[in-house]
Point group: C2
Chain length 326, copies 2
DNA sequence: CTGTTAGCGCGTTCAA
DNA sequence: TTGAACGCGCTAACAG
């Protein structure tokens, strides 16, 4: 029942090939026949069937987006950036959550192949060989988003995490902090976080740097752990791996009877909306979350259209935003 | 180059129809030939092409998801629910943001048609005739998610917002509040919010109910407006339409030199993670955000598979979660 | 239980 | 500048 390209052709008294031509601008069509076709399309309310197009052209104008979890503020913002640019270039996105589980992450590349996506924007905490193998086997252009390939084989968009770690430490050191703690997930979970930790450790004098590991990165899990830590350790500066951990840090400090920022300065990574909605407002190393997504998607479109790209491993800028917690 | 069903057929020495049968379980296949096919599939690493399947079967196993903005915490949680259940039933989702713009919301239904989605999960603040017309014209099953169709023509998943408003008011009234303010977006923007407001107003004595309108619903925009309001009005109870507005309310109260909850009790709708991460922790009318998405998607699968459904307009339960702000 | 044969709706040669 | 014909990879009758 749905009107097809044949119906339009009949209505306009041309062949379907001609309709296809005006639709795609593939070849020059005489102006008046073009008008006839356009009128027929309008009259019948014709809409091209993207699935049929996909089969015939082998291009679906669909991008696979694989992320750990959209419900995380950071990720949601990234996805928004991806979708905006995708829309701008007339692509749609198929969104999937991997829950950061390797097996699922790898499997999803396969199902994205089945869906015949033109490309993939990929986000994971820790890229390993299995991922790269999956990309290779699927033969689909991939851009890593806020995800690092240690060997830089896959196009990616990141900030300089090591440098960001250094900047955070330098910031606190300059303001008189002597003993600094880094609150983060356990080593090995997130490459980015570990990179930042390395940056911090490279600047803070040995013996004055502490690493506090929180399994889940969630506020409610972190709070008690942090309280215990602060009871045992006398730090005067804290860098948290996320806004949520930053807030937990602030509250933990306060629960220990100390003040932020007078007794302990706290800063966090990310700069989600949370950072400006709490009191004291949090000083942060702001990450360009939206741009992670937007730039990744833009890079992918370049790859797909064989446009020249200046860099396959884009580094975006991070900045320290000073607020009340330091 | 990619291996097709023909390659598998040749390898297994059967016809492609048989391969299709073992793939889809469409008909009984003798056990040993089935094994041969399976082996061939494994050997060749065959993956069915979903686009070709979609064209032939007219079913894409893809669901269109149209939301105002994924980067909003509430929405992101809903989307997560949708995606989880979609995955469970072997569907994928195409996610798009409408920014709550009517024209775009309507257009997106058309582009979803082009993509040949099997169904749509739809979220908007205010459903009007144009939406319904678009659904009708597209002839695609739609489930409204956290969105109300006043005339109940479209399947939907909601809470009872009027009752929720009443419950909020009753809760504050029972605790001694006399003058209650409802902090929300302007009338007409969100049907749900207006419904709640009506519920509140129906319980709070006339002259003791105040409606504070905040254009954007964002914390930073609400804060100054609320401070001004609180300076002029002596309320002792506040109901906010979202956690973000609730937090703005709390801070506004504090900025006016009053205490929460001693001088003014504050409660909010939603119960996003924000509610438990701030101090005082917020009392909320908890909304089942994840379930909005999950149940919507489940309902859609029932519609798509002609399973019997008990109710086309599902009402989920809301509950008051008492915390420190009241 | 299995193979043959049409399409699905469109892009894309190749001729005209 | 236009049309006819083929094929994309698969599902779904229809035979056998």
């Amino acid at each position: 029942m749905p009107v097809t390209i044949y119906d339009v052709a009949r209505e306009a008294k041309v062949s379907m090939a001609t309709v296809s031509r005006v639709l795609n601008g593939t070849a020059v069509v005489r102006e008046d026949t073009k008008q006839r076709v356009l009128e027929a399309i309008a009259k019948l309310g014709y809409r091209p069937n993207a699935v049929a197009r996909g089969l015939a052209s082998k291009k679906t104008r669909t991008i696979g987006v694989i992320v750990p979890d959209v419900s995380a503020a950071f990720v949601a913002e990234v996805v928004r950036g991806i979708e905006d640019i995708a829309t701008m270039y007339d692509y749609h996105i198929i969104l999937t959550n991997s829950d950061a589980q390797l097996q699922r992450e790898v499997d999803l590349v396969g199902t994205m192949w089945e869906k015949q996506v033109d490309g993939i924007v990929y986000m994971t905490h820790r890229l390993v060989k299995e991922h790269v193998d999956a990309f290779e086997q699927a033969q689909i252009p991939v851009v890593l988003c806020a995800t690092e390939d240690p060997e830089r084989r896959i196009p990616s968009v990141n900030i300089d995490n090591r440098r960001a770690g250094k900047d955070a430490a330098a910031y606190l050191l300059e303001r008189g902090c002597q003993r600094i703690a880094y609150v983060t997930t356990p080593k090995g979970v997130s490459v980015l976080s570990d990179r930042r930790g390395a940056g911090l450790a490279s600047v803070v004098p040995k013996g004055q740097f502490f690493r506090v590991e929180v399994a889940s990165g969630r506020y409610e899990h972190a709070l008690p752990i942090l309280k215990t830590f602060l009871t045992d350790h006398n730090v005067d500066g804290i860098v948290a791996a996320s806004d949520e951990l930053g807030l937990a840090s602030i509250h933990a400090v306060q629960d220990c009877g100390k003040r932020v920022p007078e007794d302990v300065k706290v800063m966090a990574f990310d700069n989600t909306r949370l950072a400006t909605m709490v009191r004291p407002e949090m000083t942060v190393i702001a990450q360009p979350m939206y741009d992670f997504g937007a730039v990744s998607m833009r890079l992918l479109t370049k790859l797909l259209h064989d446009e020249p790209v200046e860099s396959y491993n884009v580094i975006l800028q991070h900045i320290v935003v000073e607020r009340q917690s330091t």
